[in-house]
């Protein structure tokens, strides 16, 4: 096939020389495709069964189902992109680069200098050739862009090197950590043995010396009393909160019933919608149930009774309460451990939820119930365990960090927590890589969160996340090579379309807007030699779009993209 077309080209070349008739809109390289058949006919490029007289090429009527007969007119512009066998209208653009123009822009009265600086897309005389001037400008811009690109690539390499260094350091750290984990593990084992021995002795002692049960009893009473106090205060807090909620709901109900929707006040609308939503989520008004109060009352009475009854024979043996608090001591060590963990978790839960006070004030709970020896053994083990666990955690974090790929060649690793900012329309916008985004008022210094880094994705030209990425690994998609875009309007050079997929960082969960959604930011990364926040705008309400420059996304050869983009701006200059 290649040989054949070379042959064809070879045959066509002298013919073209003899009769230089490259059809309009066709490059010299493809001119041979338009050589006539021997009988003066010509066959459509991908539909050879359709044959037309050679002279009908570019006759401004679409004959071929693949549009190949009209490379220099708009006659086949109604065909869809996938039906077309030609890349578009070829503009020589002497003085700049050749470009293909979509067929529907040929002969439409517009000089499409962005792609056809030679004006060949319109009838002669309509669009003077501006390649001499435009081409020069653009080549200059392109050179500058290439230069910037090279600097960007250099910057990327630095980032990569820095990342590699960071990984080296992490790996070095890892060896030390592994040793630490092993050592602490051994220590834990040793202390477990100590504890087991002490416990064995202790169990016998508990059974023999009921005296100590009295101590436990007192402890339990105190404990329960403390719990009751805590619960009471929790109930009070809750009651106040419920009352406040009811008042707030009352206010909202009033707002809902009386507001005027025609004011289009987003705040009010959002409040009403939120209230309605709240009502549907919590249909019944929050009432104060009596159970807890009753329980507290009952407890008081029962406890008193129990105390009285107990007063007589509390020294006879361990009471139920004592047994309850001390029961773990009777359990086999394996069970003991898990129960203790469970109780401590439950305790933690209560503390975290404000039912119990901080451990500092309640930690004395178990101090008296065990012998000093046992306690010490337990504590030693516990300390050793936590040291060991911490070491393990550090190691696992480190391993995860090492295993995580921060982009191709780990390029993003060193950007972590680096911040860039820009002043725009009265605000300073700051973005921290993999951190948070903020908007700070220059006037009053107040700061608003635009969200924290949540994910990133790769976007196609329309700003749509490319669906095709779903099946493949992410890093393949920081495009390393030009890929054909979806857009049909932007026919690039002969090599095909320019890939312009972009890396986008998504920041979410910023300060909620009046109308509901939380602020968020979409950050497009573009190639620059230094990190910087280039553009910010609020594309739709509370959704920010930022353009951030970084070397991390620079790739060899991608300056073409920037160049093409620059070229797209030339309308302004016309």
């Amino acid at each position: 096939m290649v040989a054949a077309s070379l042959l064809l080209a070879a045959l066509a070349a002298p013919l073209a020389l003899a009769k230089p008739s490259t059809p309009r809109g066709v490059s010299a390289a493809r001119a041979h495709l338009y050589a006539p058949n021997k009988d003066g006919t010509w066959s459509c490029l991908t539909a050879p069964h359709v044959t037309i007289p050679h002279k009908l090429i570019n006759d401004n009527h679409c004959h071929c189902p693949d549009g190949s007969d009209q490379p220099g007119t708009a006659a086949c512009a109604h065909l869809r992109q996938h039906q077309l066998a030609i890349p578009g209208f070829y503009c020589h653009n002497k003085g700049w680069h050749p470009r293909y123009l979509p067929l529907n822009r040929v002969d439409d009265g517009v000089c499409d200098y962005d792609l056809c600086c030679d004006g060949s897309d319109e009838p002669k005389g309509k669009c003077p050739d501006k390649c001499a001037v435009l081409g020069k400008e653009r080549l200059k811009e392109e050179a500058a862009a290439r230069h910037a690109q090279a600097a960007g690539v250099e910057a990327r390499r630095k980032l990569e090197a820095e990342a590699a260094k960071m990984v080296q350091e992490l790996k070095a750290k890892k060896g030390g950590l592994e040793g630490e984990v092993k050592a602490t593990e051994r220590e834990v084992e040793r202390l477990r043995g100590v504890l087991a021995t002490v416990e064995e002795e202790e169990r016998e002692r508990v059974v023999q010396h009921t005296e100590s049960a009295n101590v436990l009893y007192d402890l339990a009473t105190n404990k329960i009393s403390a719990l009751r106090t805590a619960l009471k205060s929790a109930v009070e807090t809750r009651d106040t909160a419920v009352e406040r909620l009811q008042r707030a709901e009352e206010i909202l109900r009033g707002l809902k019933e009386t507001y005027n929707p025609n004011f289009n006040d987003e705040g009010v609308k959002a409040a009403v919608a939120g209230y309605e939503n709240h009502l549907s989520t919590y249909p019944a008004p929050v009432g104060i149930d009596g159970t807890v109060h009753d329980l507290l009352e009952d407890d008081d009475a029962e406890l008193q009774q129990a105390a009285e009854a107990d007063g007589a024979d509390r020294r006879k043996g361990p009471s139920e309460v004592e047994q309850l608090w001390g029961f773990t001591s009777y359990l086999p060590p394996t069970l003991q451990a898990s129960i203790t963990t469970w109780i401590s978790a439950a305790k933690d839960f209560l503390v975290e939820n404000g039912v119990l006070m901080r451990p500092e004030t309640t930690s004395s709970s178990s101090s008296g119930e065990e012998s000093a020896q046992l306690k010490k053994a337990r504590e030693s083990l516990s300390t050793a365990e936590s040291v060991h666990n911490a070491a393990k955690k550090r190691l696992s974090d480190l391993e995860t960090d090492i295993a995580t790929t921060y982009g191709p060649n780990d390029v993003f690793r060193s950007l972590k927590n680096k911040c860039v900012s820009k002043d725009e329309a009265g605000y300073t916008y700051t973005l921290c890589f993999w951190g948070s985004a903020t908007q700070k008022s220059i006037r009053d210094g107040s700061s608003v969160s635009l969200g924290d880094f949540s994910s990133f994705s790769v976007l196609d030209e329309a700003g749509i996340e490319s669906a095709r990425l779903a099946q493949q690994g992410i890093w393949q998609h920081i495009p390393t090579e030009a890929t054909e875009g979806q857009a049909v309007g932007d026919v690039g050079g002969e090599e095909g379309g320019d890939g312009s997929d972009e890396v986008v960082l998504q920041y979410e969960g910023g300060l909620a807007c009046w109308n509901g959604p939380r602020r968020s930011a979409k950050v497009r990364l573009v190639c620059r030699s230094e990190e910087g926040l280039l553009e910010v705008r609020e594309a739709e309400k509370c959704v920010y779009e930022m353009v951030v420059g970084t070397g991390a996304v620079c790739r060899e050869g991608s300056e073409k993209r920037e160049g093409a983009r620059e070229a797209g701006k030339t309308h302004d200059e016309l």
């Binding site: 529907n104 995580t404 949540s454 990133f456 909620a512």
Partner: protein, 946 residues
Amino acid sequence: MRLQFGSDRPSGQSLAKLLTSTLLLLTTFDSVVAVKRENFKTCAQSGFCKRNRALADEAVAAGASWDPSYEIDTKSIRLGEGLFRANLEKTVEEGVKVELPIVISFLQNGGARVQVDEKRRQEGKIELRNDSKARKERYNEAAKWALVADPEIDEQADFNEKEGKVEVKWSVWQNDAVIEFKPFGVKFSRGGETHVILNERHLLNVEHWRPKPDGDDKCDSCWEETFGGNTDSKPRGPESIGMDITFPGYTHVYGIPEHASSMKLKETRGGDGQYTEPYRLYNSDVFEYETDSPMTLYGSIPFMQAHKKGFTVGVFWLNAAETWVDVTTRKDKKVTDTQTHWMSESGILDLFVFMGPNSQWLYKYYTELVGTTPIPPMFALGYHQCRWNYVSQDDVKQVDAMMDKFDIPYDVIWLDIEYTDGKAYFTWDPQTFSDPASMVSNLDYHKRKLVAIIDPHIKREQKDYTVVKELVDKSLAVKNKDGKDYDGWCWPGSSHWVDCFNVKAQDWWKAQFKFDKFKGTADNVHIWNDMNEPSVFNGPETTMPKDNIHHGDWEHRDVHNLYGMTFHEATYAAIKERNPKKPTRPFVLTRAFFAGSQRTAAMWTGDNEAKWEHLAQAVPMLLSQGIAGMPFAGADVGGFFGNPSKELLTRWYQAGAFYPFFRAHAHIDAKRREPYLVGEPYVSIIREAIKLRYSLLPALYTSFHRASWEGMPILRPMFLMFPDDEEALTIDDQFFFGDTGIIVKPVVEEGATTTKIWIPDDGIYYDYFDYTIQIGQGWGTINSPIEQIPILMRGGHIFPRKDRPRRSAELMKDDPYTIVIALSRVGAAAGVLYVDDGETFDYQNGQFLHKSFVYQSNKLTSKIVNNDPAKAKPYLKSISHVFVERVIIVGLPEGAVKEKKAKVTVGSKSWEAEIEFYEEHVGRASFAIVKNPKVPIGEEFEIELL
């Protein structure tokens, strides 16, 4: 698809956070969105509606014993010159009569005009309360604003006075009328068949002036009316008018927009599936309006058509005050009559009766009176890209570039209120629109336009804002009841409203649009007039107090429904006159409208929602607009409020491609939804829908031409084309597209893969895309997966197309035509083409091409039918390079194509063109394509199949 970064996220907690925020998002957008009904009056809350309805109830209750109190004073009758003039007397109580001068004009068009005034008010012999500065007369200037010309009176009308009545015969239609004296009533008939009866049920009610009695008055809400915390001082007391109009034998009435309701008007006094409230006409900014409701909306056209097999009539209740219309039916054995009851708060009674005899005549006669939609500039028929808001000039530039990048044609990008500096119109936000001139010229490079919003409320507190200063200094604003400049709230906060009832205000308004005043604008900037009901956030029913005072000392109550029209008319004039060197056709979009608005503006159906039911509601609403003579209408594609699903958005584009006015719009809280953002396959489907629109522009433009001279709608209901098809009378979810013979049935159902379509006659119909044949009157089924729009071509029609998709309409100007011929069963078809320069007024000077196409006996003949072809020469010369590139003939009879060649003849020259022929194949019609016949469109020609 979003990808998680690294492995240390998200923790359970952040997952919970994420879930919560997702929930929040969902609930925010799904949360209850509903109209606030309590902000708008029901009939019972509107004093005069309640009183007039009560009167109707009393009449029904009284039955035969109902004592009508209106009669003609026989001594006062004067006949002649086509007029019946007399005093109509209202007996208030024994011996006390109120004089109501009545004039009935008999018109050359076979219709009549009935005007009733009140002598005492006319003569100003009344006292106004509360030191009001208002005029004393009943408002009598609605005609001045609504009509283009006085109706032509048939001075030859033949009057025949008899005992207790006058019989009239008039017009070329030989219509008959009987005016009965006591009780008063008028019957309009033709050939012995009565079509319209006035005051048959004796609900005529003219609330005459009387001083406010001391003490308690039984008159409900007559002297003061409070609603939503606002009190109307009603200085003239009760002054409503009401009358019943019966259409005997008529089961279907249409029109009186604007309501989010079916095309066929429903009954309004209860019953299964009927309404309990009357249709209300009181231009209002109804926030988040609901579908299937007689509630008032942004505009009003008090024109109603009544249709029955064989006849169509109409009535035009020319009154600009708040108006309510009750519709009921009376079934008597086999005959069903439709009864209507019209009630207006103030003004004279001014009623036009149109005697058809069919829809086409009705449109002609009605629009002769109120004017037609002029031929719009071509760009206005392209696709409009709008959003509240494109936030900056860079944003505009980016959207513009993306549309090109994705090969989606569009003509106009829009700027909503945020482009202004603090909502002060005629200014630009210095931060975001620092250089509007280059933005505008950038758009012009591809012949695109900008439409900027300009509303009637003028911001009060704005530094260096000369507009408000001039408005106040020149005293051109609407006044409150105390004669001070009315101060209300709208987008900018505290504002004044320009009063375009004042000619001086109109002139001043025009001056604001000069390029040196509205800086940054140019010839390709056009205007959107929103909020012109007028919308006043803190006013009663979101509008102005009724006792506000307009130029001429008329109360706002008298002119409310006209306000919006005076405003957009002034804007239209401003755009037309801003560049005297090159006057081009203005494009103005208005939200509020009245009868006559069609002359200067297009309308859209206001703030709809991104819901399937709103997509479905759009077509009936647009059909009703056409029925009322204002066919240049559209609905926001995608739905204004909320976020449409991709499917809904796509279906909406497919429907919108056929709206006369085709604009996508979105609320500021909505997600971005420019068509290139939707993702595949939707982008491609939407692109195809928009390209389809562009390819049909020549046909659409031709239909607009027809609308401009005889008022025919662009979207035509089935019953307009097939008036005798009973089934078609209620079909309002499909339509004929102009003169093309194309039936479109937009898909408005989620997940639909097939669609039922009504085939209104026994002709042959072809699928638009693949020429599959559909035959036989009745319900047909068409496949309608997401990429397909159900469209049929009716055999017998020819329409023009341009198949080269360009970036904007103007760039298609020189492109060649495709002529599509859908043959009838007997192998014939006909059609028209109208084209002009698409932007100037030269067409008014004969610079256009109007062509007929007739196909019969295997031959297409195209003739120039300009009324003055010689005059058109300069234009025809200017299009001499525009050719026909192909002729597609669908449904050829066997043997029609023998040689696969066609003979093309222009004048004395002829040549041959090639034909591609496709035999009939499994349900698909045969078709032929005449390739490149090389005939200029501006020449008369013949193409004969050989």
